[in-house]
């Protein structure tokens, strides 16, 4: 490195606003946090900064507190530094530079290292800041960009300007729709659109449309307040009273996945970064933001391996969501599974409950109750069956084990909570005695009853394979698809029997259904038996109260089904994720009447906007459903008005189209007439275009095809 690099550095420093000669690196105390908690208000600068593809100085670190060495020892020191820092990431070619005092020829006690990526630079800063080379030399490592940023902080403290209070928009305005309609968002091609489901007019009613609104997918927050979009720079949420304004941004470069806490107080974002060294695992960054303030409440960084334990699937070995939130709107706890432990955090301080994780040897899977701070977890069999598998329930924050059930010869377990947290069903696959095959049974926990009684349920034919299981939302029933494809059976059970509320009973079994998925209405009672994908989109709308089929239908090739949050309508869709043709969605009434359909090429997503839970007490809801007739009168009258209006509009539209067409026709006739003589000329005076003016002539054509002679000889008397 010679003079040229020095000028280069100076140019760089100047560009960044640093006067190198004035810097006393030791005097700079970096405050914690990436951005000091200050979010830029200046949109343009923010975007420019983020859109920069060249990483700028983001991948360069400054290592200070190095020994000051004379020329002879320069190379040795450089070698040591290179060794330390190339363990962390790939240093760019000519990316290590240790400046030298031109007069004394001694090094200056600091150096610059440029990595291939900002992630590596950040990792190097984290890992080596405070590294003891020897007693006198403890590394102080900083990002060069931080110098830049903190040089800009004005010397004089000025009190922040107090902005006048501006009342925010009503973010739940959509719930006040006079016609009580629901919204949904769709993504097709580059467009993302939000619509009202205007079932009365049998069409979607547009609310908002934007091209390139998101770079991968969109997601509603669990109570429907926000619509989240994903971008290269981070995530953003949108909402508002009349349209969709951007409410907040969450900076997280290359974010891939997001997840809201159930009470939508927090947003978890995830990104995974390719390491420079292909032998290393991907580096994972997870941030937890406060949705309303945009502040990072906690971040987690580490190698992908640390986040990949537990359930299978997900992106690059990580099962998403990594952090699972305890149920309810309080958003009090979140937890992640690790090797031999479950780490439960609380959101007051964003640290571990009791400062330590819950140690459970070999824990495989866990799931929160949807309503209470109760964890259900599953531990598989150990030591060839010496230690049985078990399912345990833990109370948080006390970490008290509420109930435990040991299970023998288990191959796998899957846990299903009922939506009110009243029941937990555990599907247990057990080996037969020969260990060659498995059979399935259910363990049913009654959480709300004293001592949490457990009941064992086996199907009539316990060798039946279980294809799908689903609890009735808010209810006491569940449905199971079992048996063999292509025509399995569907059974319905209740956690109550006629005489005993504490015993499970079978309601009915439907034989030979073309179904592989179950979709309960969110208000219970109704269910769709669906044969998705391989079954070509067979749909059966079933009333579980009456145990009767309301309708059967088909949405050919359907891949997705989603009930609206009220249980009045249901959408079926063919998304291009599975299938390139037939893309689009159908909207049905709860009882299986097709209301309207929309076809869209490259259809990716259909999502109903969720609603917050109703404020009505269960008693009030009961009362309303009992006196439904009284309430429905008004709506029926409205419906009739709408349908009258519709047919009126339709008539008008048709009349308009016809009139318009007549105008064209008469214009064409006129032109045609005008050009008549000219056309005649083109035909050498031959009469005209009209059919009747042709003279019909009968022409008989006789053709001699072939003449041949053949001599036939007859012999008599042969018979």
């Amino acid at each position: 490195m010679g003079e040229i690099s020095l000028t280069e550095l100076e140019a760089r420093a100047a560009a960044a606003g640093i006067d190198l000669s004035l810097i006393d690196l030791d005097s700079i105390q970096l405050p914690p946090g990436d951005d000091f908690g200050i979010i830029s208000d200046d949109e343009d600068i923010y975007q420019e900064e983020q859109m920069d593809f060249d990483y700028g100085l983001g991948n360069t670190i400054v290592v200070d507190n190095l020994p000051v060495v004379p020329k002879e020892k320069f190379e040795k020191l450089e070698g040591v530094i290179r060794k330390i820092y190339s363990q962390i990431g790939v240093i760019k070619e000519d990316g290590l530079w240790m400046p030298v005092d031109p007069e004394t020829q001694k090094s200056l006690g600091y150096c610059f290292i440029e990595y291939n990526t900002p992630q590596e630079a950040e990792l190097a800063k984290e890992k080596t800041n405070g590294y003891k080379l020897d007693r006198a030399h403890i590394f102080a490592v900083n990002m060069i960009e931080d110098f830049n940023r903190f040089m800009k902080v004005p010397d004089e403290w000025a009190p922040p300007e107090i902005r006048p209070y501006v009342p925010g928009e009503n973010l739940q305005h959509w719930l006040t729709d006079e016609k009580a309609r629901d919204q949904f968002v769709i993504r097709a091609g580059s467009d993302t659109e939000v619509f009202w489901n205007d079932a009365r007019h049998l069409k979607p009613d547009p609310v908002y449309k934007r091209a390139y609104w998101t770079e991968s997918y969109v997601q509603w927050s669990p109570l429907g307040t926000y619509l989240a979009t994903i971008h290269r720079q981070g995530a953003a949420v949108w909402g508002g009273a009349s349209t969709f304004n951007r409410l907040m941004r969450y900076a997280h470069p290359q974010v891939k996945l997001i997840d809201f806490s159930p009470g939508e107080k927090y947003l978890v974002t995830y990104s995974s970064h390719e390491p420079s060294n292909p032998r290393d695992a991907n580096r994972v960054v997870i941030n937890i933001f406060d949705v309303r303030t945009g502040k990072v409440m906690r971040d987690f960084k580490g190698s992908a391996d640390e986040f990949a334990i537990g359930g299978a699937g997900g992106v690059a070995g990580v099962s998403w969501p990594v952090f699972r939130w305890s149920g309810g709107k309080d958003d009090k706890y979140f937890a992640k599974i690790g090797k031999n432990m479950i780490s439960v955090y609380e959101t007051e301080s964003f640290s571990l409950v009791d400062k330590k994780s819950l140690k459970i040897e070999n824990v495989m899977d866990f799931i929160w109750s949807p309503t209470d701070p109760i964890l259900a977890l599953f531990v598989p069999e150990l030591g060839g069956g010496n230690q049985p598998a078990r399912v345990s329930l833990f109370q948080i924050p006390s970490k008290e084990e509420l109930r435990q059930k040991n299970l023998f010869s288990v191959s796998d377990c899957k846990m299903y909570w009922q939506s009110n947290g009243d029941y937990l069903a555990v599907k247990v696959d057990r080996y037969t005695k020969t260990k060659k095959s498995t059979y399935t049974g259910f363990e049913l926990f009654r959480i709300k009853e004293r001592d949490i009684p457990i009941e064992v349920l086996e199907l009539d034919n316990k060798n039946d394979k279980i294809i799908a299981f689903a609890w009735e939302p808010k209810g006491h029933r569940f449905a199971v698809i079992h048996g063999d494809n292509p025509r399995p059976d569907v059974s319905f059970y209740s956690m109550r029997s006629a005489h005993n509320t504490g015993r499970v009973s079978k309601l009915t079994t439907l034989k030979g259904k073309q179904a592989n998925s179950l979709f309960w209405s969110p208000s219970g009672r109704y269910l769709i038996l669906a044969g998705l994908k391989g079954f070509n989109g067979q749909l059966e709308f079933y009333n579980v109260d009456e145990l009767e089929t309301m309708a059967t239908a088909e949405h050919f090739m359907a891949t997705d089904i989603e009930w609206d949050p009220t249980g009045r309508y249901v959408a079926t869709a063919v998304t291009s994720v599975h299938h390139e043709m037939e893309n689009g969605f159908y909207i049905w009434s709860f009882n299986g009447k097709l209301l309207y359909r929309t076809l869209k090429d490259h259809f990716f997503q259909f999502l109903w906007r969720p609603r917050p839970p109703s404020f009505l007490s269960p008693e009030k809801e009961e009362e309303i459903s009992k006196n439904l007739k009284k309430y429905s009168k008004k709506y029926e009258a409205e419906d009739q008005d709408v349908s009258l209006q519709l047919s009126e509009q339709d008539r008008e539209k048709r009349k308009m189209l016809k009139d318009e067409w007549e105008k064209w026709i008469s214009e064409w006739k006129r032109m045609h007439e005008e050009e008549k003589s000219l056309r005649q000329m083109l035909r050498d005076g031959e009469a005209s275009d009209e059919e009747e003016e042709y003279e019909a002539k009968e022409v008989e054509v006789e053709e001699l095809l072939d003449v041949s002679e053949e001599i036939l000889s007859f012999e008599f008397g042969q018979e």
Binding site: F556, M557, L599, E675, L682, R683, E691
Partner: protein, 310 residues
């Protein structure tokens, strides 16, 4: 409505045309043999006079319909795609494909009354549009030529000078390749079909978009009833991906639309490959469809058809 199935081709159909009297139906397929049928009963014939055919063998041929004799062959240096006689039959417009460095072109030939005097010289050659020009037809009084093709633009050319007069508005026009183009009986308007899953109706003189018919499948062929305000769209999923899915996915139906209201009124199923060609009998009482499956299906309408009310 029981169709008459005409199996005379061994390869996918490419074009269907009735003669002006409506008693003969001509069909072209990829098997090199244009075939002519009696339009009422579907028997093969073997009192129009002149037939012109375009072929990918880089030739366009004139035929005597009665004898089946070839009268003349125009040779080109790239495959010919479509042909159309002018009013009075004195001119023919022929489109040729881009091929081996030759760009696509619209050629106008003079057709001599005496075939022996026929010359191969082009009266006019128009080049310019990128990609194949799938159809070119004559405008009113032979003054213009209307073309549509791979670049999804409908163009009107001056047939004397070859000057481009009008182009369809890309905002409202087709988004993908135009596969077919057919004129109304009086030539006042025309219908284009496109792989963008729609057909559009245009005014021939002003190139104003009048109607759009949206469907669920790429449109390969279009036809207009000369009798009722109906249009028919044919097509279906691309032949190359047909076998990958259930037969219902293909939707190889001829779809009928109300010409004015743009609403679908019915469909005629039957083909087991995409429909490549459609033609109405000039009397409006029957139509035929030709498919990738090699069949020509000749449909005589039931009496009910003429009483459809919406």
């Amino acid at each position: 409505m029981r169709p008459i199935l005409m199996k005379g081709h061994e390869r996918p159909l490419t074009f269907l045309k009735y003669n002006r009297e409506g008693d003969l139906l001509f069909s072209c397929a990829k098997d090199h043999n244009p075939t002519v049928w009696f339009a009422d009963n579907g028997e093969r014939l073997g009192d129009s006079m002149l037939l012109i055919t375009a072929s990918a063998d880089q030739s366009v041929k004139l035929w005597n319909v009665q004898t089946g004799a070839q009268l003349y062959t125009f040779s080109f240096n790239s495959p010919a795609r479509s042909v159309d006689f002018s009013v009075g039959d004195k001119l023919a417009v022929i489109t040729t494909d881009p091929f081996m460095g030759v760009t696509s072109a619209i050629n106008v030939k003079r057709i001599d009354e005496d075939p022996s005097q026929q010359s191969g010289e082009s009266v006019l050659t128009i080049t310019g549009p990128a990609g194949r020009i799938n159809r070119a037809v004559w405008g009113p009084l032979n003054k213009t030529i209307i073309s549509g093709g791979e670049d999804s633009v409908v163009r009107i050319w001056d047939s004397e000078t070859g000057k481009l007069l009008k182009e369809s508005d890309p905002e409202v026009g087709h988004k993908k390749q135009i596969t077919s183009l057919t004129k109304s009986a009086d030539g006042s308007h025309f219908l284009t079909g496109s792989l963008d899953k729609s057909a559009k109706l245009w005014d021939t003189r002003t190139l104003t978009l009048i109607k759009t018919y949206a469907t669920e499948r790429p449109v390969n062929a279009v036809a207009m009833s000369p009798l009722l305000d109906h249009v028919v769209l044919g097509g279906g999923q691309d032949a190359s991906s047909v076998t990958t899915t259930d037969h219902r996915a293909g939707k190889f139906e001829a779809k009928f639309y109300d010409k004015i209201l743009q609403e679908e009124i019915g469909g005629v199923k039957g083909h087991f490959g995409p429909i490549n060609a459609l033609a109405f009998n000039p009397d409006g009482k029957s139509f035929s469809s030709g498919g990738e499956d090699g069949y020509v299906r000749l449909h005589h309408f039931d009496p009910d058809y003429f009483n459809i009310k919406i």
